[in-house]
Symmetry: C2
Subunit: 206 residues, 2 copies
């Protein structure tokens, strides 16, 4: 039987409030499905010892960064401690052309920017089971004092009220179940009619 034309990879974005566990969830998604790619950010921060260009970050000068911004190459960006961080478009397209899905970890404000700049992205919001649980998770990190936790929690409340802007909402109650849901969303999106351009023509002619 002839091979079906290979589908292009899809772009997924996982967002959610600070402390909800995006990093852990994405690590587990990639452990269970290693072919899922992640996006590498561009930064104007100088490389730290051991950091490799194109692995940890793409390192660019502020002038280069601004040029890329002007060219529309940067889907979302932020300034942290005087350095710019951004998500570049071309590497995502290249991975998608190879048939790989890309799963990005992006802040809630960053996600809203991505939605504006890139229509073909599947937005997922990672939701804590309760606000109490989000506070517990922020406390457990133990690296912040109470006022920082309360500040993050306030920001989290505001962000939870933006869940309506996302296509999917995944409740992060238990890691395995959460990752099951994310993988289900990724698989289901590949079955959407509009992702399968040319399928009928292929089936009818083979």
């Amino acid at each position: 039987m002839s091979e079906m034309p290979r589908q292009r990879g899809l772009l997924f974005c996982l967002s959610g409030p600070s402390g909800v566990g995006k990093g852990t969830v994405i690590d587990e998604v990639r452990r269970r499905r290693p072919q899922v790619a992640h996006s590498i950010s561009i930064t104007t921060r100088p490389p730290r010892p051991g950091e490799i260009e194109g692995v940890h970050y793409y390192f660019r000068t502020p002038e280069q960064f601004h040029q890329l911004l002007v060219e529309g190459e940067i889907l979302e960006h932020d300034n942290y401690c005087g350095n710019y961080y951004g998500t570049p478009r071309s590497p995502l397209e290249a991975m998608r052309d190879e048939g790989r899905d890309v799963l990005m970890d992006i802040t809630v404000p960053g996600s809203l920017a991505v939605m504006e700049n890139y229509s073909d992205v599947v937005m997922m919001f990672l939701m804590p089971p309760t606000l109490t649980e989000l506070r517990n998770r922020l406390n457990k990190r133990g690296t912040e004092n109470d006022s920082v936790v309360e500040q993050r929690l306030l920001k989290g409340r505001i962000e939870i009220n933006k869940a309506n802007l996302f296509k999917y909402v995944v409740i992060n109650d238990e890691l395995t179940a959460t990752v099951d849901r994310i993988l289900a969303i990724m698989d289901a999106e590949h079955c959407r009619y509009e992702r399968l351009k040319g399928l009928e023509a292929f089936v009818l002619s083979h």
Copy 2:
């Protein structure tokens, strides 16, 4: 931790050309996930020995059937050998209220009627890998002569060109992979923001 308000079950419809394997696929979905319900048809055909009301069919007189049609209780119907067969709405609603997903096996013309009568249904089209493979499957049944196979194949070609009316298209290449995709679609649909009404209010108040 308080329990999240239970989600209502969703209604899924699996359609596709004759011979593509809908029945086998649905049996396997229900074997792997027994809580998935199926819809029981109403018919005007008299019960055969051993057939039980509400298990195999709901048996109704032609007058009762037409009354239900007029009341909008029948989502789609067909006439076969002089008897009416239809899909009733109320039992689906009752199963959904219990939190059970319902997976219906409906012909392509029936699916188009369901879409018109019931907006909250997730439509899936089961696609043969190739037309050659569909012919092989129709031949393997061995119960029909060549001209019946060719007639079904012609109808199948027309139906494959209606795949664009469905939200999801699932290629039925290998049973386990096919059922994986259908379960992924069912799980992903439960994570859609619009299915999770009241979630933010719950999370923020607990």
